[in-house]
Subunit: 137 residues, 2 copies
């Protein structure tokens, strides 16, 4: 399959917000933020980053690919763990600098590398003026 | 109220992932990604950024504050539009480089500056190999 090519974003704000072309605005590092939620119950699973290749492969294959900033490589999520993410929808925001994926997770359903379903497993609260983390119930 | 001070993140991965201290990992620009969902139905409303001051004010006041990258200023969301966001919960992810806010939106409920409830009002789809945007139904 040929890789999907993304056109340069318009400098016209109206075109970005109301136009029909998807022209993702990658940051200075060539990355866009991806918010990933469960297609079933809407739970926030993770926040990751994509470069053009990862975004292109995700759209082409329907399987979520990211850019691993720690490893500096393309990352097919679940390739080793089995927790592959099948993409049900991709949307973007007004200024096209973030994408939202709704996914169904295969395998044991863990998205976080710690084995938890979601990476967001702790609430932030204040203990006097100290910000602390408390496991979600 | 004294501003909340955030400690430096630990270089110990286990401490970041399992410890009780909230030590947000701001990026090279001093920002952390904030994912904002509706506390009622869980809809994804927006993705924004916070610097330490915005995050501190959000935790102190229970009202969402962000850093406006376009204006280069602290931004109390809804200050002009009336669509203030009252924060019901703040959580963070495994490596503490993103936060998730659940909020109740005041005013007419619009979060997006285009007047829509959510900034994510368009799906990405492929028209042959061309990525296009389609309004969500």
């Amino acid at each position: 399959m040929p890789e999907i090519a993304f056109s340069q974003p318009s400098s016209d704000k109206h075109e970005l917000e109301e136009g029909a072309a998807f022209t993702p605005r990658f940051d200075a590092n060539g990355l866009i933020t991806a918010v990933v939620t469960d297609a079933g119950d809407g739970a926030l699973l993770m926040v990751a980053h994509m470069n053009a290749e990862a975004l292109s492969k995700t759209l082409e294959t329907g399987i979520a690919h990211y850019w691993s900033r720690s490893r500096g490589t393309l990352w097919k999520k679940g390739e080793t763990s089995g927790n592959v993410q099948y993409v049900e929808s991709v949307s973007t925001d007004c200024d096209q600098d973030a994408v939202h994926l709704t996914v169904r997770v295969e395998g044991d359903g863990a998205t976080c590398h710690t084995g938890r379903r979601s990476c967001f497993y702790r609430n932030v609260s204040l203990d006097r003026d100290r910000p602390v983390l408390v496991a979600k119930s």
